[in-house]
């Protein structure tokens, strides 16, 4: 490989911890180490538990570059080592995860920390941004977080753990509050004071709330007057590492027992819970739709498929037989939660995420680049847009040409379902609204599709009011013709 002669450009989001920063070069992911983090890496990487966790995929597989490999890059003077990480197929963020995935990420964090401490190793932070997913399997990616344990020092990342992991889970489990919108607005998490504002008096007696919530907030308030270092004072007072381990055991038991049942509260039950029974067209069209999707998917293997408005994930399951990664997106939290729980525990293909496609995840954080917007996280080879377009146009009021333009900008092949205005669902959407949607018609759709796509196949479904399209982006269509 030829040397990379310009200074490496660090990932804009990798700045909080200066000792280990991430950069990308030639499609590979690297992490720089300074003097302290290099020593920590040498101490930690040779440990059996670390190697075992890497081999099972719970820690991202990582190799250390040799000196000659490091010299290919133009790095700052303080860099003394470089690690190379295996690439995660699709980056997602905690404010997109359903309850089940945040719970799995939290349990992995606690499990890793518990085992690490028995080997005199600590995790310096406890943020869900250190974890990614392959399918529904959590993977710990922040190797720089592993440091030597300082004996008898309190767990410095406990507050971060509560604000970013525990409080969101407690809020959804006990109050049914979707944490995703809160975490999207507050990248640093939910402080204890704010958490308590959402808690009712009777919730104070539920597991985990009084200690981690109320007592936490009370001690924070009272400790604001202290002028000395609490870390030093606690160490001098005889704090022991076993106290952290006791706490980790309790937290693990607590999190394991947390559950969110979308159907538990009738008025909070999500709209699409019983999609099959809700409308007549669904059963009638299902077989034809499934066959159509399967025929498209099996033409060749895809690296990345997006299933927009995935509902119960039935079409994601078809796509996953012919794809490396399927990202299943829906704004209905109940559907995504059920999909998550219904998938085989070890599967690493389908990643269910909560997302309102009329308001997809934007660029966030510092300069709007610390956490990337949806469209910047990978180009899908195939986009499934089934039972969605009428919601975007008629409910979210996005003009039809804009929707098609956005789908074209994704760059992949498209499978699109279009219900006409005579369709029962569309009639329901327009029942109490003025019909201002002159552009919502089959003719307009075909016209808009042909601006950016070549329509390969068009099929009317048995119910009579829905049409399926398979379209290939122009430019790619010539190579498709040659297949």
């Amino acid at each position: 490989m030829s040397p990379v002669m310009s200074p490496v450009k660090f990932d804009v989001g990798s700045f909080r911890d200066r000792s280990a920063r991430v950069f990308e070069s030639e499609q590979a992911i690297y992490r720089t180490l300074n003097q302290e983090s290099s020593e920590a890496w040498k101490r930690v990487s040779c440990q059996d538990f670390f190697q075992r966790r890497m081999s099972t995929g719970q820690i991202i597989p990582t190799t250390e570059l040799s000196d000659s490999e490091i010299r290919r890059f133009l790095l700052p003077a303080e860099v003394t080592g470089v690690l190379k990480h295996e690439r995660i197929p699709f980056i997602s963020y905690p404010y997109e995860w359903p309850f089940a995935l945040l719970k799995r990420a939290t349990l992995l964090q606690l499990d890793l920390l518990t085992e690490a401490m028995t080997h005199q190793v600590m995790l310096k932070d406890s943020t869900p941004y250190n974890i990614q997913f392959r399918g529904t399997q959590p993977v710990f990616i922040d190797i720089g977080s592993f440091i030597p344990l300082v004996p008898n020092e309190p767990w410095l990342a406990y507050r971060q753990f509560c604000e970013l992991m525990l409080f969101p889970l407690l809020l959804q489990a006990y109050r049914g509050i979707h944490f995703q919108s809160v975490l999207r607005a507050q990248l640093e998490g939910i402080p204890a004071k704010q958490f308590l504002q959402w808690i009712r008096w009777r919730d104070l007696f539920r597991p985990g709330v009084f200690t981690n919530g109320w007592l936490h907030a009370a001690l924070e308030r009272n400790a604001q007057q202290v002028s000395t270092s609490t870390v030093k004072d606690l160490k001098s007072s005889g704090f022991q590492s076993q106290m952290i381990q006791q706490m980790l055991k309790k937290l693990t038991r607590l999190v394991e027992r947390l559950e969110w049942n979308p159907a538990a509260t009738p008025w909070a039950a999500t709209q699409w819970a019983n999609y099959d029974a809700s409308l007549p067209h669904v059963a009638e069209d299902l077989q034809e739709k499934s066959d159509f999707v399967r025929n498209v998917c099996q033409t060749h293997r895809r690296t990345l498929v997006w299933d927009l408005g995935c509902n119960d994930g039935r079409f994601s399951r078809i796509a996953c037989e012919f794809a490396t990664t399927v990202v299943a997106l829906d704004q209905d939290h109940g559907c995504i939660e059920r999909l998550c729980k219904s998938l085989e525990p070890e599967q690493r293909v389908i990643l269910p995420l909560c997302m309102d496609l009329a308001n997809p995840s934007p660029g966030q954080g510092w300069r709007g680049q610390e956490r990337r917007r949806l469209e910047e996280r990978g180009q899908p080879d195939l986009v499934l847009c089934l039972g969605l377009i009428h919601h975007l146009v008629l409910a979210a009021n996005i003009p039809l040409p804009d929707v098609v333009c956005w789908l074209a900008s994704l760059g992949g092949e498209l499978v699109l379902e279009f219900p006409s205005k005579q369709d029962a669902m569309v009639k329901g959407l327009l029942r109490n609204k003025r019909d201002q949607y002159a552009d919502y018609s089959l003719e307009h759709l075909v016209q808009e599709l042909q601006k950016s796509f070549q329509v390969v196949r068009q099929v009317s479904l048995p119910s009579g009011e829905r049409t399926l399209f398979h379209a290939i982006p122009q430019g790619k269509s010539k190579s498709a013709d040659g297949v």
């Binding site: 909080r16 911890d17 200066r18 000792s19 302290e36 600590m122 310096k124 932070d125 440091i147 300082v150 020092e153 309190p154 767990w155 410095l156 990342a157 406990y158 507050r159 971060q160 509560c162 204890a192 200690t211 981690n212 007592l215 936490h216 907030a217 009370a218 001690l219 924070e220 308030r221 009272n222 400790a223 604001q224 202290v226 000395t228 270092s229 609490t230 870390v231 030093k232 004072d233 606690l234 160490k235 001098s236 007072s237 005889g238 704090f239 022991q240 076993q242 106290m243 952290i244 006791q246 706490m247 309790k250």
Partner: protein, 47 residues
């Protein structure tokens, strides 16, 4: 040795809480800590 690895404020309250939930040993730690704070206040001159 004091850890130099934290890049964020761990908050004094969250550190104290860990001693609180640390059982009988934690109560002793809290007691000693409060005693240290008391003497630190006593020995701070009042203007």
């Amino acid at each position: 040795m004091l850890s130099l690895f934290a890049y964020f404020d761990p908050s004094a309250g969250s550190l104290l809480l860990q001693a609180f939930v640390g059982g009988a040993g934690g109560i002793v730690v809290i007691g000693r800590y409060l005693w240290m704070q008391f003497w630190a206040k006593q020995s701070t001159p009042v203007r």
